[in-house]
Symmetry: C2
Subunit: 361 residues, 2 copies
């Protein structure tokens, strides 16, 4: 996909890695907060430069197993971020079941449809209602597919699924013999209630250290599954296509897991404050949007979203993502993973841009 | 693939990451020599923990561009080792051309057939003669395929292709409009002559920092291509399936590139000494094998290679790989990436095991 065509930005990859030069970015979904300082010490150990187990370091997998009820180290594969975990899961499903259908919730994280298609599978969609799954619609669509991908808290909606919906999904998919791929990368960033971990042999949980510990660039994530066939297929594919996840990153992930829980609690408090700020500001500006319950995104409505994203960037040096990239045209996604002062300045520029455009909101 | 079935080891993944406990490993192809010490300093820079460009850090790509004639940073994609570079190349070819055939040389690196098949392509084979490509046989088979994968110096044969063969491949594939994927991860480990870089818009060069700088576990490699369509497709696939290669590893690769050339020269001298040692020892023991000209593998003939690999491991704690995993049954692959003292002990155990089995050689 070209990143820019006819002078129009057509893909979020246009923005990735862009910063400085007075740009204010509501774009990329990465924490600006620093990772725990404990992870930097004594990295010169030679063991950290050699091949490791394809499935992942045993100490790291043991630390993860301790966090999930009745889990064992063989239930995990450590991956190059959640992205590779998803890629491996879908390629594994293709190896086992051939070209089957996968149900995605729309709006979706922009890579979902491509990851599914690249693996040889076919995406089908259920539309979210007010940013959440509509249980009745879900029940109708789920009969036609072999796997379902859910993402709660959601990127880009910022919503957290209702408990009864998650229980329903857990139950109905188990009954039908359908996989649930649960992308939980924002599970430690919920403002409203605890995370509900959906369980079962049919559940394939995907997570990462990126958002919780501010380690996006290190690319360490994992797949957790009770289904040994999926774990084995994913590990075999990883052996051929990327080998072990970088050992240094795995070591740092292990250290991050050992820092006191207060690290995440403190971070979540900061995120919540920012959430309140941006939500209230956008409301005041007249935007129609959902209140985020987790993650760090808002997805306000705006007409001509492609034009808005282009003009905000080229005229005002503000990065926002076009909702169309997430299956939500007529909206823009703003990440609030940036400092309050930056947010204020960014919102001021957006306010200025929108002068005389009240009818677009 | 199960790693062990009916008590028989069936895949190299059984051995990966196994060490200690008195095991002598001629298995995994990773240098035991340390990486340059310069790469460890000041890693706590916060920038190193954030998402980077999907295509790879610009400084690292510039440093690479300086090493290839007339290359520019847009010709490179930094990847999770050479493995991901190959995976991306074949997936990109599938995106552009659909299900086409890829010519592999047999014996091959064990992941090649799977990487090709996982991408949706079909592997076909040309048999090596004395561990090298037979130009006439190659000319016959090449008409039927869309891409050719070559690997010189070769894992597992240790051979370096003859210059005239490489020039022929360069020319004939260009004429036929066929891609040449040139896996050159061992190009800095040639004992007999300089590397010949095959060139052209149809050449897709794959390389890594793993072998040259002893950084296998960090997983940093790259794709170098003058074909912008391939680069763009590979970058798009990487965006969806793994994002940027881990930033810390990229920074360390950049520093490794800045160390004096004497680092590699010194290492190559050590490899050559080991090559001479193991080649002469195996010859003395009565093995029939090719003399390695690069990389760090020997592939001696031995009957009942599966049984040999199993018994060497379970009875003598010696890791050797079954030639069958590389498309070369009746041979075993021994890596000589280990210290002389270890090699001596390992070869003594093999000698002991082979007592009374002269007819197997």
């Amino acid at each position: 996909m070209p990143r820019i065509a006819d002078g129009k930005i057509t893909s979020p990859s246009f923005f990735i890695g862009l910063d400085g030069n007075g740009i204010i970015s509501f774009g990329s979904g990465q924490p600006d907060l620093p990772p725990p300082k404990e992870i930097f010490k004594h990295l010169e150990n030679q063991r950290l430069f050699k091949y490791g187990l394809i499935q992942g370091d045993e100490k790291l997998r043991q630390a993860l197993a301790n966090e999930y009820p009745n889990a064992r180290i063989e239930n995990f594969v450590i991956t190059n971020g959640a992205s590779e975990a998803l890629d491996l899961v879908f390629r594994a499903i293709y190896q086992i079941h051939g070209r089957v259908k996968v149900l995605l919730c729309r709006p979706y994280y922009y890579s979902y449809p491509s990851i599914v298609r690249l693996a040889g599978l076919e995406p089908v969609y259920v539309n979210l209602v007010e940013g959440r799954i509509d249980p009745r619609d879900f029940e109708k669509k789920v009969h036609d597919v072999k796997a379902v991908l859910i993402n709660s808290p959601s990127n880009p909606t910022g919503r957290v699924e209702i408990l009864s919906t998650l229980r329903l999904i857990e139950k109905i998919t188990e009954k039908l013999g359908i996989y649930v791929i649960s992308d939980e990368v924002y599970k430690d960033l919920i403002y409203e209630r605890e995370n509900y971990l959906i369980k079962g042999k049919h559940v394939l949980t995907v997570n990462s250290f990126s958002k919780t510990y501010s380690m996006c660039g290190l690319r360490v994530g994992y797949l957790y599954a009770r289904n040994p066939k999926i774990i084995s297929a994913a590990t075999d594919i990883k052996m051929d296509t990327s080998m072990n996840t970088n050992i240094l990153g795995q070591e740092m992930a292990l250290r991050a897991m050992q820092v006191p829980k207060s690290f995440t609690t403190r971070q979540t408090a900061i995120w919540k404050k920012r959430r309140d700020f941006i939500y209230n500001e956008l409301k005041t500006m007249g935007f129609d949007l959902w209140k985020p319950e987790g993650a760090f995104y808002v997805l306000p409505k705006i007409k001509h979203s492609q034009r808005v994203v282009n003009e905000l960037f080229f005229k005002h040096k503000v990065i926002a993502y076009d909702g169309a990239w997430f299956g939500a045209p007529g909206r823009i996604r703003l990440s609030y993973a940036l400092e309050l002062a930056q947010m204020k300045e960014g919102l001021a520029r957006i306010r200025q841009y929108l002068q005389g455009k009240d009818s677009w909101l």
